[in-house]
């Protein structure tokens, strides 16, 4: 009985992870510009890989009886570095002048960046 429950738990976590990674891939193709794509990539990919790693951890723990703490560390590292990666990609794209999608509603950062550039030229 407990074996069946464990298998169901592992199956559900791994399938959730695969679904989220599929969402990432579809989002990367369908979304219009780099900023929107970074949304899909930084959130869904992080959670997808985390769910798959969790499923692997549960499999080795509940079925094989091995507690592998390296997987937990991997989950924590992904959790910390995933959003930072998204932020850095978005920021470097903006600073190197990649345009936003033409149907974007509002851009409050452009005047700030222009001001910063002007200050740099004066120096």
């Amino acid at each position: 009985m407990t074996m069946i429950l464990a298998n169901i738990l592992i199956g559900v976590t791994v399938s959730l992870g695969v679904i989220f990674i599929l969402v990432t891939a579809i989002g990367l193709i369908r979304l219009p510009d780099i900023y929107c794509r970074t949304h899909a990539a930084s959130k869904s990919a992080t959670l997808g890989v985390m769910f798959i790693l969790l499923g692997v951890f549960l499999h080795f723990w509940l079925i094989e009886g091995i507690v592998n703490t390296r997987i937990i560390l991997g989950i924590v590292f992904l959790f910390i570095t995933g959003p930072v990666g998204g932020h850095v990609i978005g920021r470097s794209a903006y600073l190197s002048g990649v345009k936003m999608w033409d149907q974007s509603v509002k851009d409050e950062l452009a005047p700030v960046i222009a001001e910063r550039k002007k200050l740099d030229e004066q120096k």
Binding site: I19, D33, C36, S44, H87, V105, K106, L109, A110
Partner: protein, 158 residues
């Protein structure tokens, strides 16, 4: 805060030496006794009782996981719709947080929450510039989420 934790560990080791049994369960018992002693004498320490802060960190982590899962469901719903009703925008968010690690934590939280991504932090680190995937109807909701996150972080650092 760190002084109280050190003191608690010291009391736990003292308890192990008093009972002459060096294993994990004795350590846990000593640690709980030490936490109780520190709670009784909390008036003598500057700052708050440190378990309050530990509790605030645990609440922040739970909030983080809840928002992460909500964010992914939102992205999923946006992407599978045929017309993709998205309205991207970059807006400014003034923040009251001051220390660098607080701002880093806040931007990490914002990046993992529904439909927002931190693009830039202003040079005086008083404003965050955030890219929202679906601006307009979400503005108030996003601001309220920021308030809960900012509150939770202040609760930790206070």
């Amino acid at each position: 805060m760190s002084f109280q934790i050190m003191l608690n560990f010291f009391i736990a080791f003292l308890w192990m030496f008093l009972t002459v049994s060096f294993n994990a369960s004795t350590f846990v018992v000593g640690f709980l006794l030490g936490a109780m002693m520190l709670w009784i004498t909390k008036g003598f320490f500057p700052g708050r009782f440190y378990m309050n802060r530990v509790w605030a960190v645990i609440k922040l982590i739970l909030l983080f996981f809840k928002e992460l899962i909500l964010a992914n469901i939102q992205v999923l719903l946006l992407i599978v719709q045929p017309k993709m009703p998205i309205k991207p925008a970059i807006f400014a968010l003034p923040t009251v947080l001051e220390k660098d690690w607080e701002i880093t934590l806040l931007s990490n939280l914002i990046t993992l929450t529904p439909g927002t991504l931190v693009i830039d932090v202003s040079e005086d680190s008083k404003t965050l510039y955030i890219h929202a995937i679906d601006y307009g109807d979400a503005d108030d909701a996003i601001n309220s989420i920021k308030n809960t996150f900012e509150k939770a972080i202040q609760e930790v650092s206070r």
